[in-house]
Structures are given as C-alpha cells and as structure tokens.
C-alpha cells in the first residue's frame, strides 16, 4: 500500500460520508416540512359585518364569531376585542357596562382598560372600516 492509495481511500471516504450526510439532510428536510404542515387553515382575520344600517348610532353590538364588540358613537365606529389579555378566554359583559373574564375574573371597563387584574393590558382595539358599498369590515390582524 503506497501513499497514493491512502489519499485515494481518504478521498473516497470523504465522498461517501458527504453523500450519506447529504441524503440524511435531504431526508430530514423533507420530514421537517412534512411535520410542520398545518391541516386546518388559519382562522379568518377579516369579518364582513354587513351593512352599516345594522348598527345605528349609539348601538353596542356583541359579535360572538370574532369575538368582539362593535360600538357606534358620535365619533364613528370602533371595535374592541373580547379576548382577555391575560390568557385568552372570551370575556363577558358585566352589570356595569364593563367586561369580566370568566376564567380569572379580570375586569375591564367599557372602553377596555383594566379595572382589576390579573390582566395587565387593556382589551385590544380592532380596526373597523366602512367600505364604499356601505358594508362594515372588521380586521383582527
């Protein structure tokens, strides 16, 4: 066995190991994409609320499918997410125009600010837009 043979064997060994590593990585890549596939599509972030005439001035409408509450005041339309900022339960309306979370009794005022913890952030304000065709759209994204 001369020196040339040794380098040749090393070279082949390198090639083999490289190819085996490559196929392993290819396989892992495929498996990663396979496992990260989401079967259920993401929930919608845009909601068609119907014609603005459904929401007269001064109205306060709970939209359970969002969940959110839509307010129509002198200043126009606004919306408040009803997802508690603590751990994500849906808050209920309480007796004093505010909201209370059924999970850990966080309380929020009518405009969404925290009245009592454990939540430490106000309810999220959501974007509402009136489109040219007279329909209201709500965006949660």
């Amino acid at each position: 066995m001369n020196e040339k043979d040794v380098t040749r064997r090393d070279f082949l060994k390198l090639i083999t190991n490289g190819l085996l590593t490559l196929s392993g990585l290819l396989g892992l890549g495929g498996i990663f994409r396979f496992l990260t596939y989401q079967t259920d599509p993401s929930p919608p972030t845009e909601f068609d609320l119907g014609p603005t005439t459904n929401y007269p001035d001064g109205s306060r409408t709970v939209l359970p499918r969002v969940p959110a509450v839509l307010l129509h005041t002198k200043d126009g339309y606004s919306a408040l997410s009803l997802v508690c900022t603590h751990l994500g339960c849906t808050v209920n309306e309480d007796d004093s125009d505010g909201y209370v979370c059924p999970c850990h009794t966080s309380r929020f005022s009518a405009n969404g600010s925290v009245v009592r913890g454990p939540a430490d952030r106000p309810l999220r304000a959501l974007r509402v837009e009136e489109h040219d065709d007279g329909r209201l759209w709500l965006y949660t994204a």
């Binding site: 090639i15 083999t16 190819l19 196929s23 290819l26 495929g30």
Partner: protein, 418 residues
Amino acid sequence: MKRTISFAAGILVLALVFSAWAEARRPQPMPLTPTLTGETEYCLTCHADLEEISPSHPVETYGCVVCHGGERLALDADLAHSTMRGGKNPSDLAVVEESCGGSDCHSGQAADERDHIQRVLTSVQATYAGAIANIRYTFGAQPDLNAYLGTRAVQDTTTQTGITSLAAFDPARETNPALQTFAENCLECHLNSEPRPGDEYARFSGCAACHTPTATTFPPRSRDAAEGLVHTLTTAIPYTQCNTCHNRGNYDLRTMTFAPRDDQPADRIHDYYQPIAQFTRCEWTLDCIDCHTRSESMGDGDIHNNQKEIQYVQCRTCHGTLDELPHTRTLTDPNDLAFRLAALNQGARHLELGDTIIVTETGEPLWNTRQLPDGTFELVGKATRQYFTFRPVMGTACEQKPDEQESRYCHQCHSAER
C-alpha cells in the same frame, strides 16, 4: 471496495433529489373555505380560472363541492372527480335534489313558488306526459288522452289537477312496436334526456338545460358549449337555448322518426321558428321568456296532461282586447315577487316602488314590463336588454271578433313576413 459504497450513496442522493423534484412538480394546493360549508376544498388548485357561475352563487360563499360533490381534498383529477354528482352537470334531475335542493335553496318552500325542483320534476317539460299520452292513445295503448305515464315516475301529493302520480313509461311493457320505436327515436327533448347529437341540440339535462346557455348568440354556437364546458347559470335565457329542443323539426308519426328542419337560417327572423310557423314581429324580436312565465316553463307544482294545460300566455296578456286593457299591478309592497325576479336577472330592469307592471291572468308578474305615463307600455328583453314599447289593443282599429281572442287569430293579420 470503497468505491461501490460511494457509488451507491450517490445513487441514493440522486433518488432523493428525484423524489424531491417529483414533489416540487405537484401543483401548489389552493385552499378555499366557503362560508356556507366551512370545509376547506382544493378544487381551485386546478380550476382557478373558471368563471363564476352566477352572481347569486359566489364561489367564496358556496365553493364547488356543495353543488358538484366530488372529493374536496383530492388533487388527483380521477379521484377528485370520482364522486361528482351528475358528472359535469349536478342539476341533472336524477341528482338535482342533492345538488340544488334544500329548504334554503331550490326546494321545499312553496312560498313565491320557490319549490323549483318539485315544480320542475312534475312539469310537462320533464314528464313529457302529453306526448307519451298522445302517442299511446293513437296506437291504442290507452283509452283516452289523459296522462298516466311520464319519463320518470313522479308524485304530486297536493294535486289541484286530480293527477296524483305518473308511472314511468317503460317501452318494454308496451305491446305495440310503434311505441318502442317512439321510445327509441322520440324521447330526446325533455329535461331527463341527453340531447340528440349535433351542435344545434347541444344542451345539458335538468335545470342546466335552460339555465346554462350553451348557445348565447346567433350564430355561432360556442365550441365550449358543445363540449359541456360552460360554467354559467342565468335567468336571462336567450331563445337560442329554447331552440335546442323547440323548433328543431317535426316528428313523423308514420315512421316514428324525427325529421330535422333543413333550412339554413342566416338571421334571427329565420332562426327563431321553423319554416312552417306563423308568428308576429314581437315573437322573433323578443325572447321566449320575455312573455312566457316561470310557471309555464317550469311547471306550477301540479302534474298536467299536456303542454296546452299549462301554457296560457297569449297576445292579449300584454295587449289586452278591444274591450279590456291588460291586467296590471302597481308595486306597493317592497316584498313583491316582481322585485325579487328582477333582481335575480341582474341589470335587465330596475323596478321601483310605485311602478305599474303587467300581470298575467293568473297574477304572475311580467316584471320586465312597465306602464308609461302616456298609457303605453315598455318591455325590456330579459336576455337582450333591449327596450320595446307597445300599445294596448283597446282604442285601435283592430277588427277582431270578441270570441276569437287567441293568438292564432291575431296571427291572421299580424303575421311577420320572412
């Protein structure tokens, strides 16, 4: 020694790259979650460029599967299409209840005659009862001209005509060979049948026979239509669609064969009716559905003996008689059926409260008409969108005898010259 292993590892890498390449060649799945069903379907992966079927059925709301069936998740054409209802045509009467029915859709609610499916199933266009009764009577297979048999067995539990059911016409049970020939040659023009071969007969079965215009203009007929690739539903049905069955020729009772018309019409007046027919100007400038109503064409929910019993619109429906103006109705109720029918035929006519429209003798609204301030009338073509004005007969020099008010008497003076 070592070389073979390197070689094999290379082959494995090639095989992996090959399978990754095969995977990359698959189409990118295009999901759609119709709001009606909430179940994601992937039909648009291949059918993204298909035109929307109608403004009443937006794809974002209905998707594809609720009407067509099929495998919503499959991206293999054979599997995806394997469970489609009625093949290319979910409105075929054999499957129409599943595809188009349901109380929110086209069956179940008798209010405003929204039970379309039940009405169509029992209509003479589907049962072909008149023709069957006539031929069986002629060849001695039944004692009178009443309808006993239809193309399919149908029932009417709330009958107003006294006919509660029709059994299916079965040529194998007929003794007269002429009736078997009739079954073979002459049962091609009803809603349950596939059309005769030929572009001029090209239509679907079921609802789509009329509501999916396979021929939109005269001429030419679209090639796609002949291959069944039209994806449209409309209430603006041009006469050319009616002419895929009507005015195509005559049946010869001696030989029990169909003799197609052999003229080569080059314009609309010659195309509209077959050569022997007598008709007036408005009949070829308008479309069939501009005058004939939905209960005439789609049935009124009852089983009838023949076409004559259900077809009732005459010249006088719009023009009145020497003694009588046509029946009219002033629209005061925003829920009037006329508004709904006008809205469904998008854009032909915008009706407003206070408009006065003509109604038929039975009260069906001719929503495409309107009385003008000077007492004359205006009609818009449901398919052509063209406006026509016309006068009532009353106060004109018409010499028609009071007891001869059917259209055929009008044609004696007013027939169009071809």
